[in-house]
Symmetry: C2
């Protein structure tokens, strides 16, 4: 009888080992295809109760995958560097490139859960944060990042025992384990944690639902997680590659042309007072950006406009009033390959200034709904969803106490031609006009329509557009400086 | 008489303005060529007395250059992020790409000067740090970074007055100014500062001498700095482009072949005790890396060896004992374009772990003296100087209390063939052998010679090589784990 039982056990173990090996191979095969295709990144979010083995699950997955293309992402108490940026900055910073798998321990979900459980944030704020998470995940999905969200559900009593045992061992934690929630101690806090955990179901949306995995049997738990990952990878690998957008898409159809806002381009600065006004505004800008309170906020400046609209000259007048240690100008040209391998907004997130600093963007994330739309570099669904994504992005930045001031510098088509000709006549080799510059002139109407849509759809209370009549350069520079100074003085 | 004086003044001012404009154009032209060529980055180090106008000089240069390709680099008290890395990490992090100009306020020179003046470091330590700076700058120069080092020399009394005036104005600093040295107050400290400043002349070496610029007349000061930059840029732009190295260079000449160390590849682990030994070593590794004192140090592991030597399997056994939040595996494949645009070691500096973490490099910076040498990807002078550069790099990391453990996994040519054939026979599509793999086998002797040189020239007391007889995988894994554990336990 004993022998027969042991034989049965042996047989079961052999079976299990064979299943595990088959799964190992399936995992590696699917990962290899993901790497080869280089189209999608995958994030495996591992969240859930403490003591349910989040660290063990990550370790086990890491073990079974090809480690060259896997990274672990873990977010504890924010570091100084992280505290000095908007909260989601750290998730963006670590975003894996296409072809790679990120194992996200706890994910962006744990911070709000913990804050809610300890009563640090209200129910309403908690729900706002969940909504933010949803939009973040939708955006990632639309950009080709695939999410597998695992919720490890442990029997609470067993989990507490396991934690206690881990803590006793030598008085130190011997084996890897994630315990962020050991602070949740009172009954009231536990109750709130359970409630908040239920609410977490609300982040189970569309393309990124939670998969609840019972965590009490380690073997079964790991097998379930691996199976889910194999399935996801196989689905991702069988997706057809996105089609290239048809060149010069919708926006160029003549029937769709919209006019921008009516502007009085005859506005001019008074040449007799210009120098004094400029000086005065620059002094005020210096004062407000060197004030102690500015160190707790930050400033993001966006300059958009057609070629030769005078963005560079305006930026120069702003810069001159700033401490050179405090700002950086970001010219937005072709993305690098590290940037192309990640969601569109990554290259802008990585350049968000620290609090107390100024980020000046000479062209910006609006490229997607301007040049990329008009020239057909982005597919129509991509630039259409960009409006909302950009508003979300700017909302996050504004909520972290940054001022955002956005400028569209407007000139007439005649003035642009005049400036182009002037450039060609001058010392010039630096200002070599490319065929692109002339071609863009042909699309004036398309750019005007794109600009009108952009201003309408992305002017928000926290990040409004300022349209600058820029036919007279002096007038434009004063208006730009005044808008920045007034914005900062008002928020002081 | 008065009229004639005023006329003279007017004439002088007109002349000055004309000279300034000519200089502006020369600056922009030269910068434009630098950008176009995309071969060199330029660092303008602006150091010198306080109150001499370092900030003003940087601001002025920034103003006159095309801001898209300029960045300001400023280093104050190290941030948390910076303190948790070797001291030079922050200079590497900000290294501008080819075609760009970095304005370095104070540079890497101010920190040792200040530390010496306040008596925080001894004269000997100060000189050691100067020598480190010299090697750093030599390496940058060899990698195509061009340095302009400006030392602003102010009349000490005037400088103190200017500082005092700046501090009084509204009680706050109104205009950009750099004052790191306001702490240097006592007579003794001032004397030491002057002495140390004289010593600084020792960093005036070879390709990167200091240019001392009198700073009392702002106009003349800015003109002198701009002139020096124009000269440097024009010299850089007229350098002939580096020649491509002749493919498969020196190392392949049969006459030069050297043998690696004699190894006993018959060494085998005892299969009856292997599992227990492995378990025991992994436990010890977990213990030592989770101990409190480990948080103040860090661990860098380097794995090198021919294809199929078993690097992945060994890394897996190490990883399994580590907390997944604590390590990252860096597979070293083709550099990204952001990496190619910077000095060779940049891609490794950016991956140096924080203190308390573990960086595992599956292939590493040794690529330059292995594959790049053998395949002729690097020119001979480049890989020859790499030995010393690597030793410098590792010395800096070791001095910041990191343990560095480096492994060469050695197998016989027969064993490699056997493993290749095994891979081809197996599930295999993941292990597709490329023509490269077979080609590399033909260069076995060349790789062996490169490896022998590498071990000889880069085995140091602080970062010795461990040669691992890897014909038996189990033996190799135990030897790797044991070397790491013993290294960490010894330093405890």
């Amino acid at each position: 009888m004993a022998a027969s039982l042991s034989q049965k056990n042996d047989a079961r173990e052999t079976q299990q080992a064979a299943a595990r090996q088959k799964q190992d191979e399936a995992l590696l095969d699917a990962q290899f295809e993901l790497v080869e295709a280089g189209r999608n990144a995958v994030l495996v979010v591992i969240a859930g109760s403490d003591g349910a083995g989040k660290g063990a699950v990550a370790n086990r997955l890491y073990d079974r995958l090809d480690a060259h293309y896997v990274e672990t992402m873990y977010y504890g108490t924010p570091s100084e560097e992280e505290r000095n940026r908007p909260p989601f900055w750290r998730y963006w910073r670590d975003m894996p490139a296409r072809g790679r798998i990120g194992l996200v321990l706890g994910g962006w979900h744990h911070a709000p859960l913990l804050a809610r459980a300890t009563g640090e944030i209200s129910r309403i704020e908690f729900e706002r944060q969940l909504a933010e998470i949803n939009r973040f995940e939708e955006m990632l999905t639309a950009e080709g990042v695939r999410l597998l969200k695992i919720w490890l559900a442990a029997d609470e009593k067993k989990a507490r025992k396991r934690l206690a045992a881990l803590r006793e061992e030598d008085g130190a934690l011997r084996r890897p384990v994630v315990i962020e929630w050991e602070d949740v101690d009172t009954k009231k806090e536990r109750r709130r944690l359970v409630e908040a955990g239920l609410e977490m179901a609300r982040t189970s949306v569309g393309a990124a639902p939670w998969l609840v995995v019972p965590a009490d049997d380690a073997e079964a738990r790991d097998a379930a997680v691996a199976e889910a990952l194999v399935e996801l990878l196989q689905r991702v690998n069988s997706e057809p590659p996105a089609e290239k957008p048809a060149a010069a898409a919708a926006a160029n159809k003549p029937g769709k042309a919209r006019r921008g806002p009516r502007l009085d381009l005859s506005l001019k600065a008074d040449p007799t007072t210009y120098a004094d006004e400029l000086d005065d505004l620059q002094d005020r800008l210096t004062e407000v950006t060197t004030a102690r309170r500015f160190r707790k906020s930050g400033l993001v400046l966006v300059f958009e406009g057609v070629d030769a609209a005078g963005k560079g000259g305006a930026i120069r007048r702003v810069r001159a009033a700033l401490d050179p240690r405090q700002f950086r100008v970001h010219g937005t040209s072709a993305p690098t390959d590290e940037e192309r391998a990640r969601p569109y907004l990554w290259r802008f997130w990585r350049n968000i200034p620290r609090r107390g600093d100024v980020g000046i963007f000479d062209r910006s994330w609006y490229g997607r709904v301007l040049v990329e739309r008009v020239e057909g570099f982005a597919a129509e669904p991509d630039w259409r969803r960009a409006y909302d994504e950009i508003v979300d992005f700017e909302r996050q930045v504004a909520q972290a106490d940054y001022a955002i001031v956005k400028f569209w510098l407007a000139i007439s088509q005649q003035e642009q031609l005049r400036r182009f000709q002037e450039r060609e006549a001058n010392a010039a080799k630096r200002y070599k006009l490319t065929p692109d510059d002339w071609r863009n002139r042909d699309k004036w109407a398309a750019y005007e329509a794109a600009m009108a849509d952009m201003v309408e759809r992305t002017s928000t209370a926290f990040a409004p557009w300022t349209i600058v009549e820029a036919e007279d350069k002096a007038y434009a520079r004063l208006k730009v400086l005044r808008a920045i100074v007034e914005r900062l003085e008002a928020s002081g």
